[in-house]
């Protein structure tokens, strides 16, 4: 370490636990926090603690929110018979930015992964099953990522929810809109070709 101080070492270690932060970035952030005016550090730690204290999981959709139920779940202009299942709050945020989706969400906060000790219980899937059973849900759109775990989770949801009479669909994967074909990787292109539609 560049500074001989256990406190600085602890700060670097704390930054390193954040996603996308390696050793170099952690050191840079720590040194910046220490050399900038003191109110930067105070403001940062207050903002973190305050947000952490105010934000909780919505009791309906498990998305992060200050109010329970969250803004989306409380909005009666939205279609509450369509649920989009996402792995993480970032997925719901991305779909909201698109503005085209008028249904509601369910946030798993993960995917089924025995290697990480994550099963249906940790993902709150029983709560989703209960919603489908009790609220006359028409469609569940599974928007988990196109990884082995994301696909397995999608299939697991389909196995649980289809017998309850809901239509379970999977979002399409393929070439980005406005992106040239030459920028798509081979595997994505292959997938897009397989999922082609008749004009």
């Amino acid at each position: 370490m560049l500074v001989d101080s256990p406190a600085v070492d602890r700060l670097v270690e704390a930054f390193r636990r954040l996603p996308g932060i390696g050793k170099r970035s952690a050191e840079r952030l720590a040194l910046h926090v220490l050399s900038a005016p003191a109110d930067l550090a105070a403001g940062l730690s207050h903002a973190i603690e305050d947000a952490r204290r105010r934000v909780k999981r919505c009791s309906v959709c498990r998305n992060l929110t200050e109010d329970d139920p969250c803004r989306v779940c409380a909005d009666d202009r939205r279609d509450h018979r369509t649920i989009c299942v996402v792995e993480a709050p970032a997925g719901a945020m991305a779909i909201e930015r698109g503005g085209a989706y008028r249904g509601v969400y369910f946030v798993l906060h993960g995917v089924i992964s025995p290697l990480e000790g994550v099963g249906p219980d940790e993902l709150g899937i029983d709560a989703l099953v209960k919603r489908v059973e009790e609220e006359g849900i028409e469609e569940v759109i599974v928007a988990t990522n196109a990884t082995v775990e994301g696909e397995s989770t999608a299939m697991y949801l389909s196995r649980q929810l289809t017998p309850l009479g809901a239509r379970v669909s999977r979002i399409a994967h393929g070439v980005p809109m406005g992106g040239g074909l030459e920028f798509a990787d081979d595997v994505t292109l292959g997938h897009a070709l397989q999922g082609r539609t008749t004009l």
């Binding site: 089924i112 992964s113 025995p114 290697l115 099963g119 249906p120 990884t147 082995v148 775990e149 696909e151 397995s152 299939m155 697991y156 196995r159 649980q160 990787d185 081979d186 595997v187 292959g190």
Partner: protein
């Protein structure tokens, strides 16, 4: 092709300009013959066949090494530079730094044969699967993707099996993932082994004076069986053993020589010739894909073969292939290497034309 290297293994600062056709590097043991081939292999694949640690490749007392070479590929020049300095690895292709080292794969193709490659024939099924996986991944990116997904699904399913009580619905879900990717893996392996068989059988019979060789893909889940049915039938034993017992991770490639299993019944000579035939078949596979033969590096291959087989091996080699071979044999063999042949000698790491 021309290559220079500095600080690599026991090699003196070297400039190597092989001719077209066969290049024979002659020298005693431990003079640097294999290191010269290893430098080329490392430059083109970023890997050595002898070690995973670059520190081992560095000359004693040095802080790094550098290898550069220029290759003619389909009338285009490809220059590659490898730098190892202060524990960091840097590659440049035509002077452009490569951010992902894996991007250098496929810029220049080469096929390397060393005496240890007899393990392809003599060794375990896992070694033959590794050979298939490496070769097919280079040809078909979709294969590598399917293989990685298959392996990940397999790890997940095995973990699930290890933690009873096991939810049968979750097992179904992983079975479906294994089937989706496993079927792709099997189909690609099947096509590849058939293609390899055609060429390997031809080369083998030419070197072994008419003796037949045959490669057969033996998928653990036989053609015609339904993948998920096989997994379902094996579920009881999977649960008892806590591991997935069926699937492409148990595949085998049978190598038959003179209609007998070469692994169990082949002589040393048959096993070595079969391994060599696989590598020669790889030359043809790469040519079929890239319209050009790769560079062929043969490390100490002549000590493995008798005089007749050596002679026929060079006869089986297409004249368009540029070959670099090492040998401890210092005698001049009249015409063994063919007319288009350049000799080098290496002694205490110093390379000279001979």
């Amino acid at each position: 092709m021309s290559m220079t290297c500095n600080g690599f293994r026991g090699l003196a600062p070297t400039e190597f300009r092989p001719g077209p056709g066969v290049n024979v590097i002659r020298g005693g043991n431990a003079q640097g013959k294999t290191s010269l081939l290893e430098a080329l292999l490392y430059l083109v694949t970023s890997k050595s066949h002898r070690t995973n640690s670059e520190a081992d490749l560095m000359q004693y007392g040095q802080r790094g090494f550098q290898i550069r070479a220029a290759f003619q590929r389909n009338d285009r020049e490809v220059r590659i530079e490898a730098n190892w300095w202060d524990n960091a690895k840097r590659f440049k292709v035509n002077d452009v730094a490569q951010t992902r080292i894996s991007d250098i794969l496929g810029k220049v193709h080469l096929v390397f044969f060393s005496p240890e490659d007899v393990d392809l024939v003599r060794g375990s099924a896992a070694q033959r699967r590794r050979f298939l996986d490496m070769e097919i991944s280079q040809i078909a990116p979709a294969y590598l993707h399917a293989l990685q997904q298959y392996r990940q699904a397999l790890r997940q399913r095995n973990e699930l099996l290890r933690r009873p009580p096991v939810d049968p619905v979750q097992l179904d879900v992983w079975d479906a993932q294994l089937a989706a990717h496993g079927e792709t893996v099997q189909a690609e392996r099947d096509g590849f082994v058939n293609q390899l068989n055609t060429w390997a059988a031809d080369v083998y019979s030419r070197i072994a004076d008419g003796e037949p060789l045959r490669l057969r893909y033996r998928p653990d889940i036989r053609a015609g069986a339904t993948f998920t049915d096989v997994l379902r039938n094996a579920r009881g034993s999977d649960l008892r053993q806590g591991v997935t017992t069926r699937g492409p991770h148990r595949d085998e490639v049978e190598i038959e020589v003179a209609e007998r299993d070469a692994r169990r019944f082949g002589s040393q000579g048959q096993q070595r010739t079969a391994a060599l035939a696989l590598k020669f078949a790889e030359l043809e596979l790469i040519r079929a894909r890239c319209d050009e033969y790769p560079l062929l590096l043969l490390d100490d291959v002549l000590s493995e073969l008798d005089a007749d087989r050596s002679q026929r091996m060079f006869g089986a080699l297409n004249g368009a292939v540029q070959v670099i071979l090492t040998t401890t044999d210092l005698t001049d063999h009249d015409g063994l290497y063919g007319a288009d042949c350049t000799f080098f000698r290496i002694q205490e790491g110093r390379l000279d034309t001979d």
